[in-house]
Symmetry: C2
Subunit: 249 residues, 2 copies
Amino acid sequence: LAGDTPAFIRRIAAFGQVNDDDLAQLRAIMEPVEDVPARTDLVAEGDERDVAYAVEDGWVQAFKDMEDGRRQIIGFQIPGDSVGLRTHVLRTADHAFTTLTRCRLQLLRKGPLEALLHERPRLAAALFWSLAREEAVLVEHLVSLGRRSAHERLSHLLCELGCRLVSRGLGREGGFHCPAPQSVLADALGLSVVHLNRTLRPMRESGLVEVGASGIDVPDLARLIEEAGFDPRFLGLFPGDGSLVDHML
Amino acid sequence: LAGDTPAFIRRIAAFGQVNDDDLAQLRAIMEPVEDVPARTDLVAEGDERDVAYAVEDGWVQAFKDMEDGRRQIIGFQIPGDSVGLRTHVLRTADHAFTTLTRCRLQLLRKGPLEALLHERPRLAAALFWSLAREEAVLVEHLVSLGRRSAHERLSHLLCELGCRLVSRGLGREGGFHCPAPQSVLADALGLSVVHLNRTLRPMRESGLVEVGASGIDVPDLARLIEEAGFDPRFLGLFPGDGSLVDHML
DNA sequence: CGCAACGTTGAAAATCGTCAATCGACGTGG
DNA sequence: CCACGTCGATTGACGATTTTCAACGTTGCG
């Protein structure tokens, strides 16, 4: 694949069962990169849209708001992930998406995409696989919220994000940067900001994480994975994805 | 549809965009009803199986176990739901399934199903819709575990199960019976059995639920929905599904 | 300079879990 | 038939986790 291949195409290609022509066709219906500032609503709950997005650069959050202001973040989308694809098949969006950082996105329109998937079952299978993988991540979040302590949740989320980033070549020499402010992490982990901050303290003091102005830095992902006893199998990464994750498998 | 139409077929038919021939073909590859006792493992985590099931009668639970014995129940499958379909596309099962009650199940084999979906894109779309709906339920569970109190979680789960049952004609004159013991409900809600029981007490005392030997009875689902402020829209039910739910929409 | 957003900390209170014990229903072996 | 063991439900007492309220610090920006 050429160096300028969109991240989403690379992700679909990782499924392995699609050929270059499939990928070229998929790429052809992706509308060119769109530049979007941080904190832009992409999809609101209840929307009936016929577009979805592919993340080329930046982070997106999926979340659901309750009437009284409580918020639960469902997950984070990083380059290579799709945003709002399920809304194509459901009639209305069951949760909302907002950019967390400045993002570059490609547009996926419902009509052309569906036509393409009808013609090319292998692409449909690859897309389905990708969505199933996202659901496996969702299930692990459910386990975290239901059965893990605050410290376990935080470690697990950071490990998951780190592995996903590294496996796509987006890490930073053994670690990575998470652009989410603590209030966002708290909403993802089902914790209050105060408690998240307290949970962060021992990790900060032992150098596992570094808290900066714009998010959290994990300088040594392998060490975090080790101390957390993180098992990355649910991510469904393939050997060859990235050196660090390869080492874990 | 004939009266002996399998529950899974009726569920797929609810999507609306499939014709009778599609349904007949789908039915043709479903292997006849299998009778399974309670507490039978259908799929274990890590399994590589080429079969899935459709629930014709009874309840199934999807869950994930941690090494130290903690368990998180992901969701419940009732008649009309599928079990393990995502394992067809993922290489290994990312969570396990066990029957909660005695069940009648139909078998769905990977090969014939995939062949059929290639031939009939409308069926694939319907199946995809059904899986997307299940995921919307999963997302609501995530919100429950992350941001709702014990009492809210319990009410919400009972409302969800009640609406799903009633919408498929499985209720009991305004209410329903949940065959899950309290330990199972606790594992679904991310609570300890003791705390679940305490949470149940006020609902028991006000007559909202009745606790019997084999599970929990909700005699008046409409009242529970009212008191819980339950919003069933995420279930994606269509008008005509059932009188109670129709009334809510 | 003042404001706003985010991070940090303390103290008090609410929620929820653990440990331990009791009770009732049910099935099994004697 | 009855003693026994098991499983699930229930409750009390206690302790751990987590939230809430309140305050203060820091940074960046108009």
